[in-house]
């Protein structure tokens, strides 16, 4: 990375509370770090765990999800569904070695413009401390490793004179992040 590294945060905000809160932060001219890129969804319940994994795999250093407070969801309970998925995903990411602070779920109501500012600034500080996640680079390394392994196996097979079994080796290279 030639440029000075700055954390990149993808945020999924629900239309009714958190996106509106971010609008309010704007109208109130609050100032916060410019590292987040907000994607608007109708409800935090729409946040598919795959979105988070996809964002991380495509180079996000952290993901922020914003939804309505408990009892306040515009769609009655989408935020609870989000919370459930979030907790499961957090555990999974932890097992995968992704630090907990890289994903965050916050309830931010339409009135809490100031909270948007605090949460984003806090997150930027934390993720800056953690450093880049670098998933795309890791994927590249893993792909290389896999390729080398394949070569080794093929070479070993050839040395043993064993018949090259068609389904013993990958037909085509599978890459986890596409």
């Amino acid at each position: 990375m030639s440029k000075e590294w700055k954390p990149r945060i993808v945020a999924f905000f629900c239309n009714w509370c958190t996106y509106t809160a971010a609008d309010l932060a704007g109208v109130s001219r609050l100032k916060y770090a410019s590292n987040t890129r907000v994607i608007r969804l109708m409800c935090s319940g729409r946040v598919d765990p795959q979105f988070i994994l996809d964002a991380l795999s495509k180079g996000a250093d952290a993901v922020l999800i914003g939804g309505c407070h408990p009892f306040d969801c515009h769609y009655a309970e989408g935020n609870y569904k989000c919370l459930r998925r979030f907790e499961m995903l957090k555990r999974m990411l932890k097992d995968m070695g992704v630090e907990e602070d890289r994903i965050r779920l916050e309830w931010i109501s339409a009135a809490e413009g100031a909270k948007v500012k605090t949460v984003i600034n806090e997150m930027v500080t934390k993720v800056t401390e953690l450093g880049p996640l670098g998933m795309p680079q890791k994927f590249e390394e893993w792909d290389k490793e896999m390729e080398q392994l394949t070569h080794h196996v093929q070479a070993a097979d050839a040395a043993q004179g064993a018949p090259c079994c068609a389904h013993a080796q990958p037909q085509k290279k599978e890459v986890a992040h596409v």
Partner: protein
């Protein structure tokens, strides 16, 4: 004229918004960068995209450059998405082949580094370019609207809104939680600055509401449940028992005079507890509906087990043939269907006890402004005779303390807007009634309104004293002989530059306006938002002041923020007009962001079924497939996120679109 869908031709526009965006984002640079992205045929920056020439530019470019996708980077989509969709449609392209990038509220207004802000604008725009390429042609769905309206809160706002709608021929349900409509205004003596008698202007309106054929007045009732969506709301109203049959009571009030309590004994809420009432009562003479009610807390008939047979049911006897009294009445629930709702639940006044140094509740000579309103009122507890709590002493000097619970970091930060004016009104009335010396203690005199400044001039000419300074305390600790037996107001006179002690007989606290303590419950009930102060949040402070974020639900009056009667009435009229605009159109165009099931791919796992809060998803056991009822789907997308086979698709937010957007925001280095 649909274009060849195979080739994607995107037009990109970045708006300067005057200098709102251009000051922090290098708009030409963004346009230049986006111009290099795939599928972008045209990329421009323009001063004001939302202006007529801006919108015409889009339509013109669509024709000239055969554009079939449009992206505008400007303000929040919550503000202008609709505008630009219209412009795109005017150009002959499906309005959903459009995406908006928020580089004002989410970018130029919140960042301080021009380079970073420009980079963010490029990143967000790149995401939109990636996303819009995946957009699909969609049609807006038309849903019929129920023509009836629910008005919640029967103060002057609710009354005016209900009357306006009813006069236009709409059926209105007016729900009021107190036994009578009228709200705070019914308690006022006069109104500023014209000194109109409040009752004289309000009560004819109240009785008109009571007798209007198009208005169903549900007093002593509360809304307990609301569901549905714009045009089709299902509302449950709880009707509290009055122990009087409303249809049979004629309002003769014979029962009241025949009550076993010969003397009124219980605090009268309408008179701010300055007088007493009986267990069976009517809140005030002009109450609407003209129906009495029984307070079960104090009525002896409800205490039979404790105090045997003290109650002779003389009220029932007095009612006689009318048989309106029904001690067995129970709370009932009423289900109604409406298309639009106006919430006008009003305010509560600041609790003066929260500022103990002003001595409310400690010194009997300290009153709240609302108590004085009752005290100067001819139908009030003393018949308009201003006397202290002992019932005989007329005050010779009166101090009115402004901004009690307003403009104060320790209590409420906001200006309550009406206190300066009503304090002067009370100063005038008190002087008129008693001839006392009246002192006003103010921070700033705020008199913005028609005839308001003139009223202030009049008060100055009348010889009222105005002392600028926030009062430190009210005390009975006398320093001199003159101060003995009086309440001393200690204040720093900021104009004269020294601390003064003013002894008075009566202190009036001009308490401010604050949201109802249960405004949060009301907000949840109607799925609205509150500002940080607790007042209901309007959709846009300037352009949609009576709209909420929930379509078909409008707000009017002090529940939205402190305001005076003229503004409240104007707002109520505006809310009524908004309802009529929807009703008379006959249908609502719904955002086509509903979800649907790709039947071929559905594996029949039923994961989605319990997730839908609207039970829009059904399962066909024979086919083994789920399907979504489009009319019930509200477009949250929760089922879409949960579907393990990826067979549920949400219009406008489908996976492909969102994945493209994720890729897009991260593509810009």
């Amino acid at each position: 004229m649909e274009m060849n869908q195979k080739e994607i031709r995107i037009g990109f526009y970045v708006c300067h918004c005057g200098s709102n965006i251009a000051a922090m984002v290098d708009c030409p640079d963004v346009a230049k960068y986006v111009g290099t992205l795939p599928n972008v045929v045209l990329s421009r920056d323009y001063k004001y995209m939302c202006s007529d020439p801006g919108q015409e530019l889009i339509a013109k470019d669509i024709a000239e450059h055969k554009l079939n996708r449009i992206v505008v980077a400007s303000c929040s989509p919550l503000l202008h998405e609709h505008t630009f969709r219209g412009a795109v449609e005017a150009g002959g392209v499906n309005p959903f082949f459009f995406h908006m990038v928020n580089i004002r509220e989410h970018d130029s207004w919140v960042h301080t580094d021009r380079k970073e802000a420009t980079e963010k604008a490029k990143g967000l725009s790149q995401a939109a370019i990636a996303r819009v390429a995946k957009h699909k042609k969609l049609e807006q769905k038309k849903v019929p609207i129920h023509p009836d309206v629910l008005v919640v809160g029967g103060g002057i706002a609710g009354i005016h809104a209900a009357m306006t709608l009813a006069n236009a021929g709409k059926k209105v349900y007016l729900v009021e939680r107190e036994p009578s409509i009228g709200g705070h205004m019914a308690k006022f003596d006069k109104t500023f600055p014209t000194l109109d008698c409040a009752a004289c202007i309000l009560t004819p309106k109240m009785s008109a509401v009571g007798s209007h054929p198009n208005i169903t007045l549900l007093s002593y009732s509360e809304v307990t449940k609301m569901s549905g969506y714009v045009g089709n709301y299902d509302v449950t109203v709880k009707r509290k028992p009055r122990y009087i049959n409303e249809d049979l009571c004629t309002g003769c009030q014979d029962c009241i005079s025949h009550c076993v309590f010969k003397e009124p004994k219980f605090a009268d809420e309408f008179n701010e507890n300055l007088s007493k009432r009986r267990p069976v009562y009517i809140p005030f003479p002009q109450a609407t509906p003209q129906v009495v009610l029984i307070d079960p807390e104090v009525c002896l008939n409800f205490k039979r087990s404790v105090l045997t047979d003290k109650c002779k049911k003389t009220c029932v006897e007095a009612c006689g043939e009318k048989k309106a009294i029904d001690f067995t009445q129970k709370e009932t629930l009423l289900d109604i269907k409406v298309g639009t709702i106006i919430v006008s639940t009003g305010f509560q006044t600041f609790d003066a006890k929260r500022i103990p140094q002003y001595g409310y509740g400690k010194y009997p000579g300290v009153y709240t402004a609302l108590e004085i309103e009752r005290l100067v009122n001819t139908s009030g507890p003393t018949g308009g005779h201003v006397v202290l709590r002992d019932g005989k002493t007329e005050p010779k000097s009166i101090g009115i303390i402004h901004c009690v619970g307003s403009r104060d970091k320790k209590t409420n930060r906001w200006c309550s807007r009406v206190c300066c004016m009503y304090s002067m009104k009370l100063a005038h009335l008190l002087k008129e009634h008693t001839g006392a010396e009246v002192y006003n203690f103010y921070i700033d005199m705020r008199t913005p309104g028609k005839g308001y400044e003139e009223f202030y001039d009049k008060l100055l000419e009348e010889g009222n004293h105005f002392i600028r300074g926030r009062v430190g305390e009210v005390t009975d600790w006398a320093f001199t002989k003159e101060e003995e037996g009086k309440l001393v107001i200690r204040v720093e006179d900021t104009l004269a530059g020294y601390v003064r002690r003013i002894p008075v007989d009566m202190v009036v606290l001009a308490t401010g306006i604050e949201p109802h303590s249960d405004s949060n419950d009301v907000r949840r009930l109607f799925n609205m938002s509150c500002g940080s102060e607790g007042f209901f949040l309007e959709r846009h402070p300037k352009l949609a002041p009576v709209n909420t974020f929930n379509d078909g639900i409008y707000i009017a009056g002090c529940c939205q923020g402190p305001r005076d009667i003229p503004d409240t009435v104007a707002q109520a009229g505006a809310a009524a007009a908004e309802c009529m605009a929807l009703i008379d159109k006959g249908h609502i165009e719904q955002e086509p962001n509903t979800a649907f099931v790709l039947a071929d791919e559905c594996c029949g796992c039923k994961s989605c079924l319990p997730l839908c809060p609207y039970t829009a998803i059904t399962f066909d056991e024979a086919l083994g497939k789920a399907s979504i009822n489009e009319a019930l789907c509200k477009g949250c997308g929760t089922c879409v996120a949960a579907c393990p086979s990826g067979s549920i698709v949400q219009n406008l937010f489908d996976d492909e679109e969102i994945f493209s957007e994720i890729k897009g925001v991260l593509a810009y280095e």
